[in-house]
Every structure is written in structure tokens, then in C-alpha cells.
């Protein structure tokens, strides 16, 4: 155990520049060595957004800044960024160079804040944590250093909720997932701050975060810091659902739990669930013949290599609503130890009669080694990242690319969350399977 990681499935703290990129007209400004921005956009691919990738301003710190400090250079780059790029919000993210050298970035940024500019800073040197964790730091920095100015004299809106769920870009399906979340929450009578992506109202929407009646967290662990922070700061309680709800069962459970938590109109919630289930199970009903009778071979079991949210969400969905048995599962998001027992317990609720072996290890190369050594009867499915295509081919497994990095698959607005997401996941799995028949 040397602590090395093969085939990383996430990136470092500064990868949360994608959290900024996902906010309409917000721009990341990197105070880092050259290349951090390029590394991040290389990891996620096709993830430039409004002003990420090679558009993102960067100090490109060199020997000079490492030896003498980079505060002056940062000040100039912020000034230039304001002149050259239109934006509603600037977020300064620091890299390893500034982090180790110890630049006082707060002081540089404060001078701009004092002029009333919409700018915040956050420490994201790569050695500090991964992007699952730093996503929360970025969100909190924006809330504490900017949104909070608009909190004074706020009135609480009893129907308004802030939603924290898919991590932009780290979850390849974030746009689709957030869209589906917003759709089902609005359908049960809520007003939704979805905060990221095309369905959000941008920085104006962020300013209303303090007005929300409560917060929703759809995640086993990452993002928990945000809702705990908001609870302490604005007294907003939060409703946590411990994984991505995929398909009929879990989405209904998500909504019923929420209705109980928030005292929503039960009849309205039940009517919505009934209507959605009708559409959902009509498809499953139609599909059942295919699943039961297709004589040329369909996958009977699945390994998922993904983050904790997807591993649990997919295992439950695939077992009960598709009939694919979850075998060994691998969580590769570097889940902090404190959350691991809870996630194991949640996965265990999937079935009262079977145990699903689960491993936590960010070293995905090791997960692959385990899979290489396994033998299960029947045809298998592997859901993972682009790294796993090779393994799937080697082992004769069906393969669906559904986690970052994903060079073999293009995802635009597809989502796997909710009633609609469940059906889409089925389409994608069997689309891949049927494509093997030529």
C-alpha cells in the first residue's frame, strides 16, 4: 500500500474550476502554474463552458512568482480579466504554487471586493483535496463572500429550495440530472434554485439562496458540508437523499421522503408519482418480454466502478427494475472513512437476500485487477469510465461508459436521475448490448 493511484477517476482540488464554469456567466481565474486549467479541461474533455479551458484567465506562475510571490501578478490578471471578459462573477482559485509559496490571495481579492466587484477567492491547491471535496469549498466561498451581501433583510420564501446534487462535469450527466430534479420538484409545488447549468437563473438565482425555506442534498457525502454550512448560517434545514435516485422505486421514495420532511401537499405528491409511474412502468412492461425472452444473450450481472452515489443508485435500480444482478461494486471517489459504513449500510438495503460485495479504493487500477480475477456465470456488464473499455473487451463484458473520464462517449444533456433517467439508462445499456450483434 504505497498510496499511489492508477487511472484516477477524479481530479484535484483545482478541478472545481468546473463548478464555476457551470454557473452562467461566471468565470474562473486561476492563480496557479501554467497547465492546471489545461489539465482540468483535458480530464473532463469538451468542458469549456462559458470561459473555462483555454479561455480561463491564469497567472501561469513561474520561477519568479514561486521565489518572490505572485500577488502582484494576480492583481494584474484580475484587472485584465475584468476588462477583457464579460462576467457576472469571478472566482479566483489557487493552485499548488500559490498554496506552497503562501501568497495572501485573500488580501489581493479583498481590494477588489471593497470596490464592490463580484469576486471571491478559494484555496484549491491540488494537494489539499480532490474536486469532490473542493466543490463544496467553491460553493461556500461564493455564498460567504458574495451571496451573503444580499442576505440582509431577506424574507424566507416557504416554497423555495436550494438543490445540491450532481457535481458539474465530474458527473457526466449533471445537466440532465439537474433538469430532471428541477422538473419533479416543481411538479410537487416547489420553486427551485438549481444553481448550475442551463436550467438555472445564474448569479441572480444564487443571490436568493438565503431566502430558501430549506435545502435538498442528493449525495452520500460530497456537498454535505454545504448544507451543514447553510444550516448554521441561515438556519435552513436540509433533506438528504443518500444516492442518485434512478427509476420508479427510488424516485418515488425520494419524493415521499421529501414530502414528509417539508410537509408538502401529500395528495399532490402522490398524484404526481402515480402519473410518472404510469409512464415509467408502461415502458418496463413493454420491455419485460424482451428482457425475459431475448434468446441471443443479455447481461445478467453488473460491476459498477463509479462514485458512491452512482454505485448505490445503479445497484438498486438495476436489480429491481431491470433484473441485472449487482456483483462486485467499486467506489472510487475517495470517500472519507467516516461515511463508508453508512454507504455500506445503504447498499445493503438493496436486497434482503443477497450481499453485494463493495470496495472503497480510489486506485481504480486495483478494481480492474479484481475484476480480471473474477468468474461469474453468464454474460456480464461493466459500467465505468473510458479506462474500463479495454478491460471490458479483454473480459468479454458489455460496457457502458458512464463516469469521468469518458473519452469514448459523448454526453450532452442526457441524465440518469429520476423516472426519465431510469428509462434512459435502460436504453443506453441495451443499446450497447444490441450493438454487439452485427
Amino acid at each position: 500500500m504505497s498510496g499511489i493511484i492508477e487511472q484516477e477517476r477524479y481530479t484535484c482540488a483545482i478541478g472545481a474550476m468546473q463548478t464555476v464554469t457551470a454557473i452562467k456567466r461566471a468565470i474562473p481565474i486561476l492563480h496557479s502554474g501554467p497547465g492546471c486549467g489545461t489539465m482540468v479541461s483535458g480530464f473532463f474533455e469538451r468542458a469549456k463552458g462559458y470561459a473555462g479551458g483555454s479561455t480561463a484567465p491564469c497567472t501561469n506562475s513561474g520561477e519568479n512568482e514561486v521565489v518572490f510571490g505572485g500577488e502582484e501578478k494576480l492583481r494584474k490578471v484580475i484587472l485584465g480579466a475584468s476588462q477583457v471578459l464579460d462576467s457576472d462573477l469571478q472566482v479566483v482559485l489557487t493552485g499548488c504554487t500559490a498554496g506552497i509559496v503562501g501568497d495572501d490571495v485573500g488580501r489581493v481579492v479583498k481590494a477588489f471586493q471593497d470596490q464592490g466587484r463580484p469576486i471571491v477567492h478559494v484555496e484549491t491547491p491540488g494537494f489539499k483535496c480532490n474536486n469532490y471535496v473542493s466543490h463544496s469549498s467553491v460553493v461556500q466561498a461564493i455564498i460567504d463572500q458574495y451571496v451573503d451581501h444580499f442576505a440582509r433583510g431577506r424574507t424566507s420564501n416557504p416554497r423555495l429550495v436550494n438543490v445540491f446534487a450532481s457535481l458539474p462535469y465530474q458527473d457526466p450527466f449533471w445537466k440532465g440530472n439537474l433538469a430532471e430534479l428541477k422538473r419533479i420538484l416543481e411538479a410537487v409545488g416547489l420553486q427551485v434554485n438549481i444553481l448550475f447549468g442551463p436550467d438555472s437563473g445564474g448569479v441572480e438565482e444564487w443571490k436568493t439562496i438565503p431566502e430558501a425555506a430549506f435545502n435538498i442534498l442528493v449525495s452520500p457525502w460530497y456537498g454535505l458540508e454545504i448544507v451543514e454550512h447553510l444550516e448554521a448560517k441561515y438556519g435552513q434545514r436540509f433533506y438528504q437523499f443518500p444516492h442518485i435516485p434512478i427509476g420508479g422505486n427510488e424516485t418515488a421514495r425520494f419524493l415521499r421522503g421529501l414530502a414528509g420532511f417539508a410537509g408538502l401537499d401529500q395528495a399532490r405528491v402522490e398524484a404526481f408519482i402515480a402519473r410518472e409511474e404510469q409512464g415509467f412502468y408502461e415502458e418496463i412492461d413493454n420491455l419485460a418480454t424482451f428482457l425475459l425472452e431475448f434468446r441471443y444473450g443479455l447481461p445478467g450481472y453488473v460491476h459498477v466502478i463509479h462514485d458512491a452515489s452512482y454505485v448505490v443508485g445503479m445497484a438498486k435500480f438495476l436489480l429491481h427494475e431491470v433484473g441485472i444482478i449487482p456483483r462486485e461494486q467499486f467506489i472510487v471517489d475517495n470517500t472519507p472513512e467516516a461515511f463508508q459504513a453508512g454507504i455500506r449500510a445503504e447498499l445493503a438495503t438493496t436486497s434482503s437476500k443477497r450481499t453485494i460485495p463493495l470496495t472503497f479504493d480510489p486506485d481504480a487500477g486495483k478494481a480492474q485487477e479484481v475484476i480480471r480475477g473474477l468468474q461469474h456465470p453468464g454474460r456480464g456488464l461493466l459500467i465505468g469510465s473510458g479506462w474500463d473499455k479495454h478491460l471490458a473487451q479483454e473480459r468479454g463484458l458489455d460496457f457502458l461508459s458512464a463516469s469521468a473520464p469518458s473519452p469514448y462517449r459523448l454526453v450532452l444533456t442526457t441524465g440518469y436521475l429520476g423516472f426519465r433517467g431510469g428509462l434512459r439508462l435502460i436504453e443506453d445499456i441495451y443499446g450497447q448490448v444490441l450493438a454487439t450483434y452485427r
Binding site: G3, I4, I5, E6, E8, Y10, T11, C12, A13, I14, G15, I27, G33, P34, G35, C36, G37, T38, M39, V40, S41, G42, F43, Y50, A51, G53, S54, T55, A56, P57, C58, T59, N60, S61, G62, V77, G80, A81, Q83, V84, L85, D86, S87, G95, C96, T97, G99, I100, P125, G126, F127, K128, N131, P362, G365, G386, W387, H390, P405, P407
Partner: protein
Amino acid sequence: MSIIDLRSPSVEVRENRLGSITGFEGSASELVGCSQRGSLGERNRSFSQCLGCSTSNAACTVILIQDAAVISHGPVGCSGCLHEYAFTYRVNGVHRGLEHPTQRRIFSTNLEERDTVFGGNQKLADGIREVHQRTAAKAIFIITTCASGIIGDDVEGVAAEAEAELGVPVVAIFCEGFRSRIWTSGFDAGYHGIARKLIKPATRKQPDLVNVINFWGTDIFSGLLGRIGLRPNYITPYATVAGIAQSSEAVVTIQICPTLGSYLGAALEQVHGVPEIKAPPPYGIRATDRWWRELGALTGRQAEVETLLQEEKAEHLPRIAELRSQLAGKSAYVTAGAAHGHALVAILRELGMRVTGAAVFHHDPVYDNAGAADSLEAVVQDHGDIPKYNVCNKQEFELVNLLVRQRPDVLLARHGGMTLWGAKLGIPSLLIGDEHFGMGYQGLVNYGERLLETLENDEFVKNLARHAINPYTDWWLKQDPYLFLEGKAHVGNH
């Protein structure tokens, strides 16, 4: 030029070794003049956007070696984009005669906060042994990062100790991003490690073996060199550790781009006596003829080369003439890495097009080997001056400003992200990834046809331009494009 010193664990970055720069505004002939007079000065930008990084360029010299493993010694993000090389290796193998490409073995030592305090030497030492055990790689490369560099880990010492213990080359490559704003310094760092640890002194000469320093371009050299009785030894992508070791036995080294291979070409010549072709690579007719003749002279195949050139001319000149008449007078703007940018200018001029300007990522006033021709000077001599020739290290804001002013008929780019801005402005834009695509006579035909196709099929860019999102302010697009280039005497008119 530089003296290759393989005793040193690291090689100086280009700024210090070659006097290379990343900021210049003027004409190509002025830049060549400054280089020759030794009066080339760097100019900094007070505003800048994300650059590339040496560590990923160093990575590209080693990840695609068939039987190697790579460890990035740094935080996990410093190897974030390396999966792209795994993809490249897998999907491009078919063009390089590799039917069953194996999975790339890429590791990170995952440096964390406590390591920046207590150091990462032990983590690296343990990591190397684990990688050795897990991969049985024939060579293990360690690429360094800003974090490992600043905390001062003894990467060379750890590597040397592991090498002695494990009995395979364990190669430390010093390519911290903050050391250089010229990301191609990473190529030099990778090649320095390879030259130090992998290339063995020749025990015999293979008189028909030609080192080809390239990326992962399609194998055209087996055919071309085969016609004059030579065969390629591609280094380093898709090579084996053993294949690289024997590159000292070759009769000559050629390279597709001196920006890439300057250092390795010089190391092979200065240390192992394998001469490097000094003529710029074969892009455009004049450059092609010169290049082949130098190859013929160095390998004693002058007659065969003349025959080959006659055959090539007979086959391709009629089609090139047709393409010239179709492309005549069209204007183009070029943005690319240094020497390949020069190559693209040569191709466009050879095809009768007007090159209205260029934004080239850096400029090397000299290369590592004495006598290696300046590829920009050659282009100016062959095809005339380039009026607005700017050195600009992928600063998108400058490029956008320039394109808005120049509105060329076509934008020719090499390096991801740059064509987007041509397209957003409704300018047909072309990026060719395969560096062999434009070589020789066939290359002119290839490019000519693709350029015609690109100019003709402009519906997509026209539609995109109507709906494009533009984050740049109106203010900026009206400013002098070099406003942020410091040391500027005045703001001129453009």
C-alpha cells in the same frame, strides 16, 4: 545551440537554453533578424490565459512507449489529462501497425497536504516498487510536478536507488510546470531522461535504419523510406524500450518538427554520433527537395533520392497545379506551435494562398544542434515575408481580437481549442492532427484538398456564428491586440 550534458539529471528549459520567447509582435523577417542578431527579448503579458504545461508534454514522450509505465509524482490532478494519451495509444495503434495495443499504465503518487510538509520521497519510493510489481514494465518513468519541485523531493536519488534494486531503468524526468512558460520544454525533459537512461551506446551500425522523431502520425515512412532502401525506427510513441535503446545504431535521425525533436536529435548526434538532418522538415516543395537531398547525401543514396523526387513530381505536380488555381488568392491565418506553424505557412504559400498573419506559440531563435536551419528563416526565404507574425502562447484573447480584424477566408490551427474561435466568427477552420498529413508532395495534395473542402463546406460555421456565445467584451475587441504585452512603447493602430 546547446551542449548536451547527460550527466546532469535535468535539462535547462528552453528560455535559458535556447533563448526562446513567447511574446513578439512584428513581421517574420524582423523576428528572424532579431534571432540572428541575438537581440531577441522576451515580453511578458500583464493579462494571460491558461497555458499548456511541461509535465503533459513530457508525458507524451513516454506514455506511448509500448512496455513502459509512468508515475506522475504530484497531486492527483497533475495526471488528469493523461488518459487522453491512453485513448490515443489505443485508437491510433492501427495506423502504426499495432493490432493489439495494451492498456497504458499511468499512476499518480497522489501527493497530499501532509506530503508537502514531510516530503514525498518515501511515497515515491514505495510507489515505484508497487508499480514494478503490478506492471512488470521494462522501464518506469517519473514525471515531476510543481508540488514535488517546490517541496524539494529528491526524485533523482529515489529513482537511482530503485533502479539499482529493481534492475530496470527508473527514469526521473524534471518537467515541473512552473519552470517554463514554453510547454515544449517538457519534450526536452522527456527526451533528456530517455537519452540518459534508455539509449545504449551502439555496438554495431544498422546502415538502413533511420530514427524518426515524431508523435503518433500515420506510418508513411515505411513506404517512403523503403523506396530508397531505408527503414524507420520511430521514436518514441509506439516504440519499445529495446527499440529506443538501439536508436544509437541508426545511420541518421529525421524529425517531423524541430520544436518536438530538437533536443533528442542533438543528443543522438552529439552523444552517439548519429547525424541529424539539419534542413527543416519536408513541408512545401522547396523544403521537401532540400530535405530529401540531405537525407540522400547522409545515407549515400543521392541517385535513389533523385529518382524518388522525379517520381513524386510526376505523380503530384499536375494535381498541385490544379489545387493552386482553385485556392489562388484565398487568405489564411495560422496558429500553431513554432516549427509546425512555419510548416503550415509553407504549405499555404505553396498552394498559392495568402497568409495574412500567424500566431505561433513560441519562437526558438536556435535549435540544439549547431547548424540546424531556422525553419522560419527558410520559409521567409522560400516564400517571402509574413507581415503580421506574432508569437503568442495560445492566448485566446489575442487570437480572437486578431481574427475579428483580419477575417481570413480560412483559419488553419494545430493544437486543440483554437479552431473554435474561427468557427464562432464564421471563418471555416481546419485542424489536422496527423503531423505526417502535410509532408512532401503528397502532403500538398492532402492539404489542398482538405482546404478546398473546408472552404466549401462552411454552412456549419456560418450557422454557429449566428448563435455563438462570446465572453469577450466589446471594449476588448476594439483594443490593440497587444495591449497587454508589456514593454510596448505605444499603442499602435491595427
